[in-house]
Symmetry: C2
Subunit: 190 residues, 2 copies
DNA sequence: CGCGGCATTCACAAATTTGTGAAGTTAAGG
DNA sequence: CCTTAACTTCACAAATTTGTGAATGCCGCG
């Protein structure tokens, strides 16, 4: 996989928000570019294991690790050392999965991709559409195999489970929001 | 692909229990081999979309669609028209994910692979180990990026969400069991 | 109104993954 | 103790997927 990753990494534009360095900009590149990179790698690996394609995983992880929660295509490309095409493709994928949203900086036409703090696990829970597909397939199966056959019954049961989970989701999320409030006060950024 | 596989196939033990159709029953082989196959295809497709490899998906779907909830390697190979090697590999994968369990028929050394009615969605919920890995990665990230940086905070929040979900799981599952009882009486098979 | 920069799309090349055939291993049955 | 039938492992071939380079389209700015 030739991952001898170049070292210098002048990725200082990684900073986006109040990064009052001021002090000797001498310290290691960017902020802990090293540490950031490592985290991105690791977390992306988890996502890959979970079934997400490689590039989308890396990009998502990078966004998650960025201070502003958003990066432009160029920044992503540079940080991850991938071509604009790769960024484009991966970002399209993530948009379709509702895992990132695209914004437009008023001035330039650099597009920003962002993870809303909440959005992403809500998306994770919100597999609504996906769920629906599964349920459709299962319903179909119940019908095909016969609702009274053992297999049909098993399928019906599985279907019921999906429906049950769907039912539970709203409550779970609202409990989460409460807990989140407890832990973090009101959320800092959107 | 060489499909010269013997078709003689005494796979009648596929049936397990009462076959009480009534309406126009299609005499063709097995039961509705046609319909079964179609369901297996479709459901497997969903699983693939969800990130599961192809063969494991097909095998899992086939097991789900079988009346007894269990099939032998040979049966799987024949029904899906794949080689024993493919069955072996896929089944190993599924075992590792705890999506099937292996049994041993006392007499012959044909191995049976089975989906417990519950087991599989419990496994789906029980991504314990997986969860732990994610949490570890996140914890690591919080530390690397600094617990007070915006990115670090976002990560901590995500971590909290995972922990929260883990907390909720037991309750959710037990509510499910109750509901399951309501809907299906006491579960038929284990 | 035209220029300059960005992002997207297309087609291809490379790399990873997938599934098969054949040999290897273990265990039942004569 | 040997034969036989299964499952597993190994190495390879094929097919799908992945990421890049180059060309195209867009939009804001001068």
């Amino acid at each position: 996989m030739a991952e001898d990753t170049a070292r210098t990494a002048e990725s200082e534009q990684l900073e986006g928000s109040g990064q009052l360095e001021g002090a000797e900009r001498q310290p290691p590149a960017g902020r802990d570019a090293e540490a950031v990179g490592q985290f991105v790698e690791r977390f992306a690996a988890r996502l890959v294991e979970a079934g997400l394609p490689r590039m989308p995983s890396r990009i998502f992880a990078a966004l998650l690790a960025s201070d502003s929660g958003s990066l432009t295509s160029a920044e992503l490309g540079e940080q991850l050392r991938i071509s604009p095409a790769a960024v484009s493709g991966a970002v399209r994928y993530l948009s379709q999965q509702h895992m990132v949203s695209r914004e437009r900086d008023p001035g330039s036409r650099r597009e920003r991709y962002r993870v809303h703090s909440d959005q992403w696990y809500e998306a994770l829970a919100n597999r609504d559409t996906v769920m629906k597909h599964w349920e459709a397939a299962l319903r179909d199966g119940v019908h095909s195999l016969g609702a009274t056959t053992p297999a049909g019954i098993r399928l019906a049961e599985t279907l019921a489970f999906f429906e049950f989970v769907e039912t539970e989701m709203p409550g779970l999320l609202s409990r989460w929001r409460i807990r989140r409030e407890e832990l973090f006060g009101e959320g800092p950024r959107g």
